[in-house]
C-alpha cells in the first residue's frame, strides 16, 4: 500500500502544538505516512520542552530535512519527494508555517496529477494575528529589562525567574528573520490562493475558519473543496489516575502566551479579589507553564500576586497531560480581537487536551467562536469574556460557592477523540484516492 507524504515543519519530538495535532491525527489513522519535517528539533518560541522519542507511531515514519533555513527545507523536500514519488499515493501539507504549503505547491508544479490534501492550522490571509505580525507587533523584548533596571538589584535578582533572556533574544531574532512587513503578507496571499486553487481538499479545524477562508478572501467558488476536521485528544496518552495532593483549587495554563493572547484581565480580576480577600492564596492557585507576556509578568509583580500566580518552566507534552489531569480547572485564553472580528476563528489545540483529561475548562474568549461553541456543546467548562468583572464573577463563584459547570457529555466529548477524528480523515483520504482512479 502506498503511503502519504506529510509535509509538517513541526512534528514530535519537537513539541509545538501544530506538530502534536498532526501526530495525534496520523497515529490513529489507518494509512501509512512519512512525515517530512525539520532535522533540528531545537525549540522555537512556539515549542514546549521536547518529549524525546516517546511520541512515536508505528504507521508514521519521520524524514528530517534541513532545519535552519525554511526555504532550503522546502527545496530539499521537493527533491526528496521527486526521488521517491513512487512510494506515495498522496501528499498532505500542514501549516503553520506557510512553507509547508509552498513545498506542496512546488511538488504540484512538477507533478500536476499528484493528489494533494492541504490542512490549515490557521488561515493565512486577513486574519487578526497575521495583521498584527505584518504591522510589526507591539511587543518590545526589552520592555521588561527596562522596567527592572529602574528597580533595585535585589528585586532584579528575585525577578530572574520571570525573565528568560534567551527566550527574549530568540524572539527578537525570529522577528528579524521573518522580515516582518508587506513582503511576508504578499507571500501569505500567494501561498493561500495557490493552495486553495490547486489542492484537492482543503482542511480547516473549525467552521469559522472555513467561512473566513472562503468568504472573506472572495474565494467562495472553491468552497466545495473545504472540509472541517477539528483538533483531537488522544485518550491513550493520559495518566490513569489523578495524583493531586494539594487541597487548594488549582487552575493551570499550559502553553504560549504573548501580547495578543494574554491573561491581563484574569490578573486584574485576581488583584481585585485579593484586595477583598487577603487570604485568597490559601484557597486557590494559578500555575502557568510556558511563555507569558512581559506586561503580565510586570503586573504580577506590581500587584503582588506572586503568592497566587506561579510561572513554571516549560514541561513536555506528556508531563502537561499529567498536570492538566491533576488540575481542578484548566485555563484557555484566546486573544481579544473583538474590535476586528465578532467571533473567535481560532481553535486552540489545548482545548482538546483539556477535554481529553475531562478537566473543567475556564475559557476567556469571545462569546461566540470555535472553542466557545465546543465548550457549550460538550460541557465541562465556562466561557467568560475578556472583561475583568466577568472573570471576577465566575472566579468568585468557583472559589467561594463551589461552582461546577455542566458536566461533560461523554458522547459529545468522544467526537473529539483522535480515534474519531482520524476516522474522518481516513474518509477524506479514501475519497481523494478513489477520485484518482
Amino acid at each position: 500500500m502506498k503511503k502519504g507524504f506529510v509535509i509538517s515543519w513541526y512534528y514530535p519530538p519537537g513539541n509545538s502544538s501544530e506538530g502534536l495535532v498532526t501526530f495525534k491525527l496520523l497515529k490513529n489513522s489507518k494509512y501509512q505516512y512519512d512525515v517530512w519535517t525539520r532535522a533540528d528539533q531545537q525549540q522555537s518560541m512556539w515549542d514546549r520542552k521536547s518529549d524525546e522519542s516517546k511520541l512515536t507511531a508505528e504507521n508514521v515514519g519521520v524524514i528530517k530535512g534541513e532545519c535552519d533555513d525554511a526555504k532550503k527545507w522546502v527545496e530539499e523536500g521537493v527533491k526528496y519527494f521527486l526521488e521517491h514519488r513512487d512510494e506515495y499515493a498522496f501528499i498532505m501539507s500542514r501549516s503553520m508555517p506557510a512553507e509547508c504549503h509552498e513545498l506542496a505547491i512546488k511538488i504540484k508544479e512538477k507533478i500536476p496529477d499528484v493528489k494533494w490534501i492541504a490542512s490549515f492550522g490557521d488561515p493565512l490571509v486577513d486574519t487578526p494575528y497575521i495583521n498584527d505580525i505584518t504591522m510589526g507587533g507591539q511587543d518590545n523584548p526589552f520592555k521588561m529589562v527596562h522596567y527592572l533596571a529602574k528597580e533595585d538589584l535585589s528585586f532584579l535578582r528575585a525577578s530572574r525567574v520571570f525573565v528568560s533572556p534567551t527566550r527574549l533574544a530568540r524572539k527578537y531574532v525570529w522577528r528579524k528573520d521573518k522580515q516582518i512587513g508587506s513582503e511576508i503578507e504578499r507571500y501569505f496571499e500567494y501561498v493561500n490562493l495557490t493552495t486553495l486553487v490547486e489542492a484537492d481538499v482543503v482542511i480547516y479545524n473549525n467552521i469559522y475558519q472555513f467561512e473566513h477562508a472562503f468568504s472573506r478572501t472572495g474565494l467562495k467558488k472553491y468552497q466545495s473543496k473545504g472540509v472541517v476536521l477539528e483538533h483531537s485528544y488522544d485518550p491513550g496518552l493520559y495518566p490513569k489516575k489523578k495524583t493531586k495532593k494539594n487541597s487548594k483549587i488549582t487552575f493551570v495554563y499550559v502553553g504560549h502566551l504573548d501580547h495578543n493572547r494574554n491573561v491581563h484581565t484574569l490578573l486584574e480580576a485576581l488583584s481585585e479579589m485579593k484586595k477583598r480577600d487577603p487570604e485568597l492564596s490559601k484557597k486557590v492557585e494559578f500555575v502557568f507553564y510556558g511563555h507569558m507576556d512581559d506586561s503580565d509578568k510586570v503586573f504580577i509583580l506590581d500587584y503582588d500576586l506572586v503568592d497566587l500566580v506561579k510561572i513554571n518552566k516549560d514541561i513536555t507534552y506528556l508531563e502537561s497531560l499529567n498536570v492538566i489531569k491533576d488540575a481542578d480547572w484548566a485555563i484557555l485564553v484566546d486573544a481579544n480581537f473583538t474590535s476586528i472580528v465578532d467571533d473567535c476563528i481560532y481553535l486552540p489545540a489545548k482545548l482538546m487536551d483539556y477535554m481529553g483529561a475531562r478537566t473543567n475548562v475556564f475559557s476567556i474568549s469571545h462569546v461566540k467562536g470555535a472553542g466557545s461553541d465546543i465548550i457549550r456543546e460538550v460541557g465541562g467548562g465556562k466561557v467568560v469574556t475578556h472583561s475583568a468583572d466577568d472573570i471576577y464573577l465566575y472566579l468568585s463563584k468557583i472559589i467561594y460557592q463551589k461552582y461546577r459547570p455542566k458536566p461533560y457529555d461523554e458522547n459529545e466529548a468522544k467526537k473529539y477523540s483522535s480515534v474519531e477524528v482520524s476516522k474522518r480523515l481516513d474518509g477524506v483520504i479514501g475519497k481523494v484516492l478513489k477520485d484518482k482512479k
Binding site: 491581563h264 484581565t265 477583598r276 481579544n336 473583538t338 474590535s339 465578532d342 467571533d343 462569546v367 461566540k368 467568560v384 469574556t385 475578556h386 472583561s387 475583568a388 468583572d389 466577568d390 471576577y392 464573577l393 465566575y394 468568585s396 463563584k397 460557592q401
Partner: protein, 335 residues
Amino acid sequence: MKVLSLVIPMYNTELYVERCLDSVLYDDSIVKLLDVIIVDDGSSDKSLEVVKRYEDQYPGSITVIKKENGGHGSAVNRGIAAAKGKYVRILDSDDWVNIDDFGEYVNRLSKEEADVVVTNVRKQLLYDNGTDDFVFCSKKSSVKKIETVADKVMEDMFFFEFSMHSMTVKTEVLRSVWGEGLLEKTFYVDQQFVAKVFMCAKNYVVYDLLVYMYFIGRPEQSMGAGFFVHIQDHERVLKWLLKTTNDSELPDYYKTIVSRQVELMLMTHYKAYAEQPKLSKAKIEEIKRFDSFLRKNYQKYYAASKVSGLARQILSPVRRSKPVKATQCFRKARR
C-alpha cells in the same frame, strides 16, 4: 413584600443571560428580597430554555413571561405591569450586576423612602479592552428634591447619572405616570424611560455603590454604524418627548430637563444624517419632513438646539460630495 423588582427584557441573549442571572442570584441572603421578572420578547434562540431552568430553581423569586416580539419597550412595559417589589429597576439581559455591592444595595433599598435611587455604572468596553466608570457619588448623600436636578442639567454627566442603567424607581410612583408605557418596536426608549421618571419622582438619593455592569461588545448591539439604521425610531422618541413639553400639567423643572434631553437628541439626530457619505432621496425627504415639522411646531427647540446650520448643509441642493463634518458645524453654530 419584595424589595426590588428587576425587570429583565430579553431577546436572543442565550449566551449572556446566564451571567446576568448568576450575578443577581449570587448572594443567597438577598434572593428572597428579589422579584426577578424576565420578559422574553419572542426570542428565536435558546434564551427561554436557559431562563426556565432558573425559574424552576428559584420559584418564589423568578418569573418568566413569554410574549411575541414587540421590542425592548414592550418587554419593559410587561415587566413593569407585573412588578411586585417596592422598587423597580431595568436590567438588560446582556448586562449584569456587581456582586460586591448588589447585596448592600438591596438591603439599603429595603429601608429607603426616596422615589429614585441612583447608583454607579461601569461600562464594559470590550472593544477597547477596558472599562469606563460612571461614579455619581463618592460619599454618603442625603435625599434631595428632584426639582433640584434641573440646576445641574447642563452638566456633562447629567444623562449618565439619570439613565435607565443608573436609576431605581419606586414602583407605585412610576406606575402613576406609566400610562401606555414605552413605545413598542422602537429603539432608544431608554430616553423615554428617563423622561417618565422625571414626570413622577419627587425626590432622589445617590448611593456610592457600583451596581450596574453595562456590557458593550455584543455584535448585535445597535451601536455605532447601527444607529442610522434605526434613525426612524430615534425620530419617534424625539417626537414623543417634544409632545410632553406641551403638557401644561407637567412641572417646569421637567420641561427644563427634557428640553436639554431634546436638544442633545436633536444634535445626534441631525449629525447622523450629516455624517452619511451619501443620502438616498427617501432619506433626504425623511429629514426634510422632520426639519419642517420641527421648525413649524417647535421653533424654540430648533433655534436652541443649534441644528439649523447643519440642516441647511444636509438639505442644500448642491450637497458636498464629502460628508458634512458635524462637529465643525456645531462649533460654527455656537459661535
